[in-house]
Amino acid sequence: MTDETFEHWARAYGDTMYRVAYHALTSRPDAEDVVQTVLLKLYQETKPFQSEDHVKHWLLRVTVNESRKLLRSPWRRSRVSLEDWDGPAEEREDTGVLEQVMALPGKYRVSVYLYYYEGLSVREVAQAMGAGESTVQTWLQRARGKLRLALSEGREETGYARS
């Protein structure tokens, strides 16, 4: 891979990798670490990519895997013991849409991001996350349910819940 090709892909997909890692890890420094690791893997990748889509899907898969690795590392576990792939993100005062998504368990957050922001199909999300299609469908369904509940609770608190 030439430096020019590497730089093109890094610039084209750097923010995408960062968003995926951030959704998985809920920490900007950790997300940056993951992006750096994935860029190194991209630079050292010896097998040729067939297309831009191929590169993108490869990067998404590697980013998800590297985020998982970081979550499982003893260093991170001791540092942020309550954060886990299946656990909820840290509570936030802000109640914006992104914050509501970030309050979901990790696998829901990442699948919501890939499906709703990146526009991947359920099948593509499943491939990126190393899960079955039906599992991803369930995650998305549950995520929607939790978001609906969070939204209705928020409306009740602000006094304009639908009758």
């Binding site: 891979m1 730089e7 890094a10 923010d15 630079y43 010896t46 998504v101 709703y116 929607r144 978001l147």
Partner: protein, 174 residues
């Protein structure tokens, strides 16, 4: 329900920033280019070590030692793409003969391999990302491997005519 428009707007603001991105690109390329220079450095350091050894070796051994190092750094590259080596890590290795025993010295740690050489005719060491094979003549082959097991590079020592060197050393310079 999820307000998609607001969610996409929020996500779009989650960015590394161009400066951070350029910094990461530069770090990645620098790190790999340093790895790329290792074979050349290995040759250079081996030559320096040969000179250092020559100072301490006896007069009769000096030509042999120099010849050995001159022929030792024969590099075979089999697993590259666009001339870039992938994940190459080469340990510091020496095969030494003392008082009739043969020792493999790997990153400063000695192992007596005399028995293995007598029994099997060779000694094999499997490290992380590399393997070292020493044959009955004390000739060492160091093979660096990529994470998927492909041979990226190998160094092979050659027997020296006209004398026996006191130490055979290949180093990555670190």
């Amino acid at each position: 329900m999820l307000d998609l428009e607001r969610y996409r707007e929020d996500c779009a603001q989650l960015r590394l920033g161009p400066e951070k991105m350029e910094e990461m690109i530069a770090m990645t390329e620098d790190r790999n280019k340093k790895r790329l220079t290792r074979p050349a450095r290995a040759g250079l350091v081996a030559a320096v070590l040969a000179a250092a050894l020559a100072v301490t070796a006896s007069a009769a051994q000096i030509p042999a030692v120099q010849e050995f190092f001159a022929s030792f750094v024969a590099v075979t590259v089999t697993g590259t793409q666009d001339g870039v080596f992938a994940g190459l890590v080469i340990p510091t290795v020496a095969v030494e003969e003392r008082e009739g025993r043969t020792y493999l010295v790997l990153d400063g740690e000695e192992t007596d391999i005399t028995g293995a050489l007598e029994t099997d005719g060779r000694y094999l060491y499997e490290g992380e990302g590399f393997r070292i094979e020493v044959d009955a003549d004390g000739v060492a082959t160091i093979t660096a491997q990529s994470p998927d097991g492909e041979t990226v590079m190998s160094y092979t020592s050659e027997p020296v005519e006209g004398g026996e060197p006191s130490a055979y050393t290949v180093t990555d310079g670190e």
